[in-house]
């Protein structure tokens, strides 16, 4: 059974998704336990797979038993294994933490909700594990379609933002598909490794160059890379609580993974950096993304929307790191995929439990929350410190790699942007902390009817939140191990330039 892990990580949540959606019409109370089981199995197997990959270096799996260029193969190396573990484990934690939000916000359609939740994870894990360019597109569609539906389940302007996201996201998907189509026309293959062996003789062909640019634009739209980020703040901001904290930490990070995979495995580092010389312009664009995200975040009056713009800024970190063209920068980018997912989950879970008690996330409604919800606010501070980049939280280490990578490459603009956004983050979070620590709690003016006193979030939310916050520090302390055992061997094997 052990050699089936790569397939089972994707297939088990898929099977459970269908069962949940059917069972919802027979016995509703079974939906949540079934989802937990499916998600838990997937997360457990991912951890096992990571262990196997760490020792063997590569795990391959052939769907339907067909050899790879003819059939679809999974090709799991350090990068896939690391990202898939983050995706499944964080989704599992989020599932437990947001149970009460789901009961409250989507009571009637909980079955369909959990089915879509699992399918979203199927999409992401499939994107991460696959070694086939077209299979990646199909799973991208699964992940996108479920996220449109999940975001649309929110209240107020959520359906409108989901529609907006759908339009933009579909365009992004089309660009990626067009890129893959070009590659197929030129090589006749869809398997990543096979395409990579066929490509070098046509690196100077205009069609291959366009294929790369199409893939880059498509993935850029999906990851909300500035200036293609317009859909993100509304979509993530208006989504139901459980959806926001699921999609925000995972979707954009997985798309950064796709980009790194395309550069490292399919098109090769030589093509991207030496032949196309894309490094410098992309790093400048990333610096712009970092600064723009930070400035927009300053203008927000709502906690969740502020976090959304911080994501836009963080995407700039990862893209910049990946395009610096040296080992340190790429290490920082990969490490930041891992760390940023945890940090973002921490922040969104805090926002979720505050919303559960306060019923609003406008900054001036956070007054006095430190005395009312001490644990949640302590976790928010932990997440904030990590976003700012204070040791020993994990955010510090990836930012350290990114900055030293920037200095190595002589990209001082990028380094300046990183420092600027760190300073802005300090301002942002100290404003939040100031309001919630020093402001007096008001039972929000006029709404006298909301009689119940605001108190600490229930334990079912706090325990996962605490786990995530402690994870921030634990992951930070184990950074050396992750870099030495997972990221360095990967970059070494891909022949990444020093």
């Amino acid at each position: 059974m052990t050699n089936h892990y790569p397939a089972l990580i994707v297939v088990l949540p898929l099977l459970f998704a269908f069962v949940v959606s059917g069972v919802a019409w027979v016995k509703k109370s079974l939906c949540f336990p079934l989802t937990i089981v499916g998600m838990g199995l997937s997360a457990g197997l991912s951890v096992c797979l990571l262990g196997r990959v760490a020792t063997t270096g590569l795990v391959e799996y052939r769907m339907g038993g067909w050899e790879t260029p003819w059939g679809i193969g999974y090709h799991v190396d350090y990068l896939n294994a690391l990202v898939v573990t983050v995706v499944t484990v964080l989704a599992f934690i989020n599932l437990i933490a947001t149970r009460k939000n789901v009961v409250e916000e989507t009571p009637e359609k909980a079955g369909a909700f959990y089915s879509l939740y699992l399918l979203f994870i199927v999409g992401l894990t499939g994107i991460v594990l696959t070694g086939d360019l077209f299979n990646l597109y199909v799973l991208l569609e699964v992940a996108s379609l479920t996220s449109y539906a999940l975001i649309g389940m929110g209240n107020g302007r959520a359906p409108m933002s989901a529609l907006n996201y759908l339009f933009v996201g579909t365009v992004g998907g089309c660009f990626y598909l067009l890129g893959v189509g070009y590659l197929y026309i030129m090589t006749g293959s869809l398997n990543m490794v096979d395409v990579a062996t066929l490509l070098p003789q046509m690196y100077h062909s205009s069609a291959v160059v366009m294929a790369f640019i199409f893939c880059l634009v498509g993935v850029g739209i999906k990851m909300a890379f500035f200036p293609l980020h317009m859909w993100l703040p509304n979509a993530y901001g208006f989504a139901p609580t459980a959806v926001g904290s699921l999609i925000a930490p995972l979707m954009t990070k997985v798309m950064v993974y796709v980009l790194i995979r395309l550069i490292l495995t399919v098109f090769s580092v030589d093509f991207a950096f030496v032949i196309l010389k894309m490094g410098d312009p992309m790093v400048w664009l990333s610096s712009l993304a970092i600064v723009a995200g930070a400035v927009f975040a300053l203008a927000q009056k709502n906690l969740k929307r502020m976090f959304c713009y911080i994501i836009v800024s963080e995407i700039g970190y990862m893209m910049g790191g990946a395009w610096l063209g040296n080992n340190t920068g790429m290490t920082g980018a990969i490490l930041h995929i891992f760390n940023d997912a945890i940090m973002t989950l921490c922040l969104f879970l805090c926002a979720g439990s505050i919303y559960y008690r306060v019923r609003g996330l406008e900054l001036d409604r956070l007054k006095g929350l430190f005395s009312k919800m001490p644990v949640t606010m302590a976790c928010l501070v932990a997440g904030a410190l990590s976003i700012i980049g204070v040791p020993p939280t994990c955010g510090f280490f990836s930012k350290w790699y990114l900055i030293s990578g920037g200095l190595e490459a002589g990209q001082y603009g990028f380094v300046a942007a990183l420092l600027f956004s760190s300073l802005v983050n300090v301002v942002l979070f100290f404003r939040v902390i100031e309001i919630s620590y020093y402001g007096d709690f008001e039972d929000h003016h006029g709404h006298g009817s909301s009689g119940e006193a605001v108190m600490e979030a229930p334990a079912s939310m706090l325990v996962p939140l605490l786990i995530v916050s402690i994870g921030l520090i634990v992951v930070g302390l184990y950074t050396g191990g992750i870099v030495n055992h997972l990221i360095n061997p990967l970059l070494l094997k891909q022949g990444f330039l020093g």
């Binding site: 089936h4 397939a7 269908f18 959606s21 399918l119 030129m186 006749g188």
Partner: protein, 274 residues
Amino acid sequence: MKAIGLIIVVLAGALLLYSTQDFPFWGDPASPAGTHTATYYLTKAFEETSVPNVVTAVLADYRGFDTMFETGVIFCAGLGCFVLLRLSRSRDEDSYYRHVATGITLHIKSAKIPDVSSEFERIDTLWTPYDLIVKTVCRLLAPFVQLFGLYVIAHGHHSPGGGFQGGVILGASVILIAISHNMRTAIGRISEKTIHILMAVGVLLYSGIGALCILLGGNFLDYASLSRILFTNEIEARSLGILGVEVGVGITVMAVMITIYNNLSSDGRLDEGL
């Protein structure tokens, strides 16, 4: 803004044209797409899967993993439609009944429903008197449409067709009933609950066959390992496995078509929308 859009469109078009200059010639038999994987499929597909239609063999066997997720995409679309559109039934709604013999309409304010006998039928606010000719023709047509749908699913091995096309035809037969009679009649034939369970059962059949292959010792979706329970050789088992997943696809696509139609055309109320 319009001008900027125009400039972007022209630029993108120019880029597209520029990129085509290195393409292989149109229909060139020596192009990479025609010589690399395609040659393998064309020469080996029949002897390895015993399916004469190479498209089906590639779709459901060599790249069956993709097709499973394509079906999953359709499932997501159906579920998404349901989640976003379906309104929960409010009990206090007015209801309308029609006395069949006299044509008198009863408007009932509270939720108390009289014994629905053959004398009364439940109607909606947007009820239109039915047309005998349209109704009869469509009722007669529906079984033949369904028979054709089943044929298309089963005959995917030999001719164009398969689960997706057949499923759409099956779904269309129910939609035809809904259009020609009314939605209540169609839902009376196949209820919302049944549709949703069928939707899940179809894809579950597909992925279940895949998982069964793992239990029988093969890789995921390796139909060859089904030969142990189907009492045939491995090549025949591949062909039968493909048929199994095609049936699964057909069921899901049918159910999704019906649920999308029902929810879209009635704004999620599942009463007479059109």
